[in-house]
Symmetry: C2
Subunit: 402 residues, 2 copies
């Protein structure tokens, strides 16, 4: 019995996009849904209530980071991650695969010229710079040896270890341990990595099913395969045939490859289970993902750009540090109903950034996650009302000023 139930309420004419509800042990997720990133067990600069009140239904935390600090055993002693961070709603943890590899072998190998995969928060920090960091992950058939990026201690992750950690954290939806390759790896390496990911997926699943946690925590398998059509389809077939509760679509995509890769996967993956596109993304990416049958997607962008002054508006992205906003008495977005827009002006928020006041990051983070969450809610409504194409065209033409 899966601890997760998924209902589909309506589909797009293309047979891929859909509206549904995921029922978890901690409540329902109306899909498609934007998942806020809470890497270290907190959506940066926000209280759980601020996250919830911005329209976010689900948070995804990071297995790699929480394993290192404060430790998954410690989180278990706190009563699990829901209780520790005081988030009563649905919660996810990724497998830590992306982070383990992005800090070592996979990322350091050929260099990734452009990562549109949204989970690049770590990669843009100085300590993750390709040129400066020695390879600190070593792969063998059984697992990965890696070093803590900040303390340097050696650690060893296996599929079973990742599942154990995620059981200690206790999220409603967890992920199988995988290897996320760079799109610039050779086809030979992609094949080798994909076989490993498939073996690890089976081990993750078998180990998870052998534990009582399988009754309350759902496990998603991750489809990989880079941008190669044959490998992607092979991976969707393989992972899709396993008894997972749902699926993740992983990979560091070049932007132009992403829609095809997503389509290849979702045409094969079993329709009746939910699909999460990992680490995506910008408004146009989210429309693409929903149209092509993804139900969930997480991205650090809304909160990361917020801390640097970046603001989503219906007319595109602006930066609040621009001098012209110093005396602009209008809200961040005149059509927005978020806490920041209802109570503060661009001029005041600009002041907070110029004065380096933390409240500035908090207000922009609230606005940006509200913006993205409500944009996705709009897609849901549009599918239900049979006008997805119009909503998409109107939204994107205004946002990108086509």
């Amino acid at each position: 019995m899966s601890p997760l139930k998924f209902e589909i309420h309506k589909e797009l004419e293309n047979g891929l996009g859909r509206v549904g509800t995921i029922h978890t042990s901690h409540g329902d997720i109306q899909t498609p849904a934007f998942v806020a990133v809470g890497t270290k067990g907190t959506v940066k600069s926000l209280t759980p209530e601020q996250v919830r009140d911005s329209g976010v239904q689900t948070i995804i935390a990071n297995t790699y980071h929480l394993y290192l600090e404060p430790g998954d055993e410690n989180i278990k002693k706190m009563g699990g991650l829901h209780k520790a961070m005081n988030w009563q709603g649905p919660l996810m943890t990724d497998s830590g695969g992306f982070q383990v590899f992005s800090l070592g072998a996979a990322y350091g190998k050929n260099g990734v010229s452009k990562i549109s995969h949204g989970k690049t928060e770590e990669l843009i920090l100085p300590e993750f710079n390709d040129a400066e960091v020695p390879k600190i992950a070593k792969i063998d058939p059984n697992g990965v040896m890696f070093r803590d990026h900040s303390k340097g201690d050696a650690h060893y992750f296996t599929p079973e270890k990742s599942i154990d950690i995620q059981h200690n954290l206790g999220a409603d939806i967890i992920f199988a341990f995988d290897e996320c390759t760079s799109p610039h790896e050779s086809l030979h390496y992609q094949k080798e990595a994909l076989e490993r990911t498939h073996r690890w997926a089976k081990r993750s699943l078998e180990y998870h099913k052998s534990k009582p946690n399988a009754e309350t925590q759902a496990l998603f398998g991750i489809v990989q395969g880079g941008r190669d059509e044959t490998l992607r389809k092979e991976s969707a077939e393989f992972i899709g045939a396993l008894d997972f509760d749902g699926f993740g679509i992983g990979g560091s995509f070049d932007k132009e490859d992403m829609d095809k890769a997503v389509q290849w996967c979702n045409e094969i993956l079993p329709k009746e289970k939910p699909r999460h596109l990992l680490g995506i993304g910008e408004p146009e990416d989210l429309f693409m993902a929903v149209e092509n049958g993804c139900d969930l997607f997480d991205c650090v962008a809304p909160t990361r750009i917020a801390r640097n002054g970046g603001v989503y508006t219906k007319e595109g992205k602006i930066n609040i540090l621009n001098q012209k906003f110093r005396e602009d008495q209008s809200p961040l977005d005149s059509e927005c109903g978020c806490y920041a827009c209802k109570n503060f002006s661009r001029s005041y928020i600009a002041h907070l950034f110029h004065a380096k006041e933390m409240l500035g990051s908090t207000l922009l983070s609230i606005h940006n996650i509200y913006f993205i969450a409500h944009m996705v809610d709009g897609m849901r409504e549009a599918i239900l009302n049979n006008n997805f194409d119009k909503y998409k065209k109107d939204f994107l033409s205004r946002y990108y000023n086509f």
Copy 2:
């Protein structure tokens, strides 16, 4: 007609301490009351609702800082400081005198070995270090020339200029422009500075009364005089005789001098007007202040120490970064009803600090201002219930582990 009304409901037997209500244009302040510091128009790391829900009735912002960034004219365009920062309750601004002088002549002159005056937030930042910063304020009979501590531009403050700025900001209670001397200045210099402060007080008052803002904004005169009994009493006589709406007691005190200075002032100041002890302080200081007849006090300590991991508890101050709190599942203070204590454990908050997550500062700031605000509320209750001495003894003996 004063824009402010003050009622006294009950007095201590010593004839100094009292419980009252200050009625302002933006609501009532039940006194004695802790005033939260919002230097740059925000209580650091908190939304206005988080400040209010922690039991804070009033915020004090800083004239010097807001004049420089974003500019008082700009705040006026935002509709005034209440509207800009979305604070509907009573609001104060200080005169900027302390900051102008602390960045230049007064502070740089002889060196201040210990400043228990709470407004030392700026002074502990590197750019304010006595040894590194050249004198950047120059006093003449008419006013003070100073340089922006960050940009270096020259500015000139007079009593009239300070009042103009405070009129643009629009707080309910504003302060006369004064010179705050170091307790280590010579008696000769203290006398000279005090005469200047008195002349400036008269000019501030006359200028303020000539403006329509006097109908909605109350002006407090500031008593100075360092730690010299004669000068303190002379200042209380002089300032107390002027038609101010209330009074501030200023000065950079050595801790052992503070209670006497406060007592000298309040025995002379007219009983029927409210008194604000500027920039104080720690729990024992606040008991001293209330006992000796102060109605209001502001202090950066609760939020400043919070950002460094410092936590007030009934059993004294702790630092959440201490290793022993990593696995401590109890709340910050087991008897506290604040948002942080009701929803999070010491272990989780310790994790936030170790992981350098902003939410840690937010939670400790909420707790600390709640702690201090409720400690002062307790004094109010105790005076009303005729058991102030017992409340004080119980609180302080437990807090300082006597």
